[in-house]
Amino acid sequence: MPAGPVPGPAAVVGGEAAQQDAASWSPSTVEVERRAYRRSRATRSAAVSAVSTVVVLGVLAWLVTHSEGWPRVQETFFSWDKAVSSFPAVLKGLWLNIRLMIVCGISILVLGLTLAIMRTLRGPIFFPLRLIATVYVDLFRGLPLLLLLLLLGLGVPALRLPNVPTELVFWGAVAIVLSYSAYVAEVFRAGIESVHPSQRAASRALGLSNGQTLRHVVLPQAVRRVTPPLMNDFVSLQKDSGLIAVLGATDAIRAAQIETASDFNYTPYVVAGVLFLCLTIPMARLTDHVARKQGWHGAGGAL
């Protein structure tokens, strides 16, 4: 059957011919014209957005670089020489942030998931566990992270308790894990409770135990659903690992502070900031990507 609209008198079309034209189909002149039009619109949109971006950014850049205080700002915050000289120290400090972030990230996931499961347990025997988890979340979500850091990082080592580590970084990490796992527990709990009860019923009806239901049916769906907010918390953790600088541990921020102290040039802080962005921006893009993929799954069939 030739391509294009052939409004022949036949209300009845041969079924066998159906298969043939699927492969040999080519768009009609109307469709070719429509595609050309859509392409030209797309090209136009791209051109408009490119021009408007260049103009807006150009005007902003001109305004900033031609303002009165710009030379002083440039010297104090964007000194290339200072950036180069301070870079190795700040990068070395950042290595501490990265290690802290990985160790804390894993601990937070484990503790957060445990707390979430504790809070969703049913049955009277589990009441103490539920109570502990609830109180824990209320407490550590409510306390400022900085307060926890000072309390644990400076307070506990000063006690010189037997068999208790005294390293600043260790207690800094503990404070971060305590605070973040309370948030992450709530994210997990929201995910667990968003799984429809009929899923549990179907699983229990097949003879799976409560624990097996949680492990094989509820958690896989819950974790998938809360991945975007979890990624969000992970990006936030990357920045907050810098807070241990207040304890005196030499991370990227503390290293920048030391470099700055010699001549009151603030460029090292900018260097540290850029390095943090190099960690968090790829993470944010990854989060978007994951969220978009999950959005597709939610769209459903449209046949």
């Binding site: 391509a3 409004p7 768009p27 859509r38």
Partner: protein, 259 residues
Amino acid sequence: MTSESATTPTGGAAPDAPLLTVRGLRKSFGEHVVLHDVDLEVQPGECVVLIGASGSGKSTLLRCVNLLEQVDDGVITLGGLDITDPRVDADEVRSRTGIVFQAYNLFPHLSVLDNVTLAPRRVHRVARAEAERRAMAMLDRVGLAEKARARPDDLSGGQQQRVAIARAMVNSPQLLLLDEVTSALDPELVGEVLDLLRDLRAEGMTMILSTHEMGFARNVADTVCFLDGGRILEQGAPAEVLGAPREPRTRQFLSRLVS
């Protein structure tokens, strides 16, 4: 593909000015071609019923007519305007057609009344009082005026589907599309929805509906189209297509339904 003038209800519509024409329509999702070269004409006041197995392309055809899908090829005109032209305002075209879905698709966070007034108020900029007056008239029409303040979740499936029809009808569309609107309903709730559609049909509403209710199709349709594998295999008056099908495939489909 002239509609059967003998069964055209309003009779006044000029047969040379169809409300909707579909010519050489093709639609695929990836590799899968859902509609092949579909031709269809709908006269004002006509009721066209699409029948066919699941996956035969009935829903996709309706979604193409409402511009919910971008067609691969072919031309659809509504009231003489080529609505597949990318230059037309799709929202304006959609506001002239109403669609009702199998799963109702009511907005669960809005009351029944707010579901019906949403489009008049936000799209057509009708004042709240006027929109509510029209919505109440339409809800009264579908027999649910007393449920105006209820939430969709508090209604039965049949009631929800009647609200969805009221929501589609409140903008006075030229064409009403109904996609298996009774398939998700309990058997005893199907009747109330079909009765409503029969009334709308008697008032001269132009509609295209897909259904598995053959008795209803026989009763209400001016034209029945049997779709198979994305093609209209057979179309004509219900007595012909349902009573004396010419195609073996149509006969096979109908015999399976009866048994």
